[in-house]
């Protein structure tokens, strides 16, 4: 293990205001590559705002003001000259509620590749398909040399969903369970090969068994991706993360290795939170 892990995200004096109300106050952090970083803190403490600043999803909010510096791989991502589309391909996101598109399982994964201009082997629209969705033979798909087909298979395998869905890839994604939908969303996010995966309370709507599957998945994903995860579940943060950041009232009060934050926090307020005194 290296003593000084490589930094992938660097945040300097980040301030965010919604409608003049300050949501983030002077946040500074260096996030290490290929690690899992948990962001904890009470509701409204700014952790989701912080997460959404990393892929510029905050841009969608009207009347927002962002100041400070964020750089990913040494390149600044704030500012009007930045290619936000490219940024979001590098920084994937998984939301709190599973958000599959109203499409088939296959099409959900293929979508991210299609918007990049990759051509799929079969047309997404066929006259026959309107009346009876065509069945996708998974043996053929696995053997396919088409890039989109191969990526769909690999992403579903990486998201540990392949065995559960390979017989019904043409079915609507809405027919999957909540936990499967969330893993589908993770598969969709990793299909476009991001460097970083942002997760906004991905397990808060799921049962313990589905949660366990997602946690195992995150553990495997960190070999290829940097995972930044917002969670309200303290034991989850302790189980899966290498580093933990504690947000309190818009400030990143404490940021360090997970064992440090949970065993030996520097601030009294962090200690009270991780002990469960409030929040």
């Amino acid at each position: 293990m290296k003593s000084q892990p490589e930094t992938i995200i660097s945040v300097r004096s980040l301030n965010v205001w919604y409608n003049g109300l300050q949501a983030l106050k002077d946040v500074n952090a260096d996030i290490a590559k290929n690690k899992v970083i948990a962001l904890i803190g009470a509701s409204g403490s700014g952790k989701t705002t912080f997460l959404r600043s990393l892929n510029r999803m905050l841009d969608l909010v009207t009347a927002i003001r962002i100041e400070g510096q964020i750089s990913i791989d040494g390149k600044t991502i704030l500012g009007p000259e930045v290619d936000v589309i490219k940024l979001r391909q590098d920084v994937g996101m998984v939301f709190q509620n599973p958000t599959p598109f109203p499409k088939s399982i296959y099409d959900n994964i293929a979508y991210g590749l299609e918007i990049l201009g990759r051509k799929r082997s079969r047309s997404s629209f066929s006259l026959k398909g309107i009346f009876r969705p065509e069945k996708i033979d998974y043996h053929k798909l696995e053997a396919s040399s088409n890039e989109v087909d191969a990526t769909v298979v690999k992403s579903l395998k990486d998201a540990t969903l392949w065995l559960e869905v390979r017989d019904r890839l043409n079915n609507s994604a809405f027919r999957l369970s909540g936990g499967q939908q969330q893993r589908l969303c993770i598969a969709r996010a990793i299909a476009v090969k991001p460097k970083i995966l942002l997760m906004d309370e991905p397990c808060s709507e799921l049962d313990p068994i589905s949660t366990k599957k997602i946690e195992e998945l995150i553990n495997r994903l960190k070999h290829q991706y940097t995972v930044v995860i917002v969670t309200h579940n303290l034991s989850q943060a302790r189980r899966i993360s290498d580093y933990t950041g504690f947000f309190h009232m818009g400030s990143l009060t404490e940021f360090g290795t997970t064992s440090e934050i949970f065993r030996n926090p520097k601030h009294k307020i962090t200690q009270e939170y991780v002990r469960g005194d409030f929040g």
Partner: protein, 284 residues
């Protein structure tokens, strides 16, 4: 105490039920009266034969059905893309600013403009200024702008009903706004846009006042051969038969034509309902 509560509950329930049933009764009543008045005039020959001006009992209203059909298709072709496009701009591209509010206000007011005013506008602008004459195309354009507010409202509603999470999820994957609209939002909203719009188009097909001014005619010996020809249309045909035709059989034939028009509109609305049902079943 309990008894009075119970009976007042029954009273109000009864009132609402009565109001609802009376509406249904009015509808059934209209259809029945028209059917009775139409009597034997309503037959296959009446639907498929050309109009015979000298003896209305010998002819049919085929040209008027075709004329109304052309109008419906034309209005759909022109107003659907314009209306859905406007709705996309309003819901997806414009933020809640002054321009958007002014546009929305204009659309709401357009919906309230009486149809005869649209007719006058069509006559002045399409028929005269653009020199299209009183013709099928002038009437189609006039009715299209009249239908636009309906289509925009229906489409805005359908687009707003698409969950915000779909937009976020697509943008977070690195999709552009247009890719998101084209691939995610529009496919989801289109059934709602279409079904709402079809009902608006069906209403327009029953309009009489505007088409009197811009090209409908009571009697044509042949079907319109080009978009610059005059045309027959069902609502105008009813109007003339009911008010100006000398034949003693005219009222009977007006009723028969009215049944055909209502039937046509019910058929179109039924199509919209079936389409909605089909899309609902297949989306999840």
């Amino acid at each position: 105490m309990n008894l009075s509560k119970f009976s007042s509950e029954n009273l109000y329930f009864g009132i609402f039920r009565m109001v609802t049933f009376s509406m249904v009764l009015v509808f059934v009543g209209i259809i029945l009266i028209l059917l009775i008045n139409a009597g034997p005039a309503l037959n296959l020959h009446f639907l498929t034969a050309d109009w015979v001006q000298s003896d209305i009992t010998k002819g049919g209203i085929y040209p008027a059905i075709v004329g109304s059909f052309y109008i419906g298709i034309g209005v759909a072709l022109i107003s659907l893309p314009l209306g859905i496009g406007t709705a996309i701009y309003l819901t997806e591209y414009s933020s809640g600013n002054l321009t958007k509010r002014i546009i929305q206000l204009a659309i709401r007011n357009l919906a309230g403009v009486p149809s005869i005013i649209y007719g006058l506008f069509g006559l002045a602008f399409f028929a005269r200024t653009l020199a299209l004459g009183t013709s099928l195309i002038a009437a189609t354009l006039t009715l299209s702008i009249m239908t636009l507010p309906w289509i925009i409202s229906a489409s805005v509603e359908a687009l707003n009903a698409v969950p915000h999470s779909f937009r976020e999820a697509s943008l977070a994957l690195g999709a552009t706004k247009w890719q998101t609209i084209k691939n995610i939002i529009l496919p989801r909203a289109l059934p709602g846009c279409l079904t709402g719009s079809i009902i608006g188009i069906a209403r327009t097909m029953g309009e009489t006042a505007p088409i009197i001014l811009v090209g409908a005619t009571f009697f044509l010996s042949r079907l319109p051969g080009s978009i610059y020809d005059k045309f027959m249309a069902l609502p105008y045909h009813i109007f003339i038969l009911a008010t100006q035709h000398p034949s003693p059989n005219a009222p009977q034939y007006a009723s028969a034509t009215a049944v055909v028009l209502i039937g046509l509109i019910i058929l179109i609305n039924l199509g919209a309902i079936l389409a909605r049902y089909y899309f609902k079943k297949h989306e999840a």
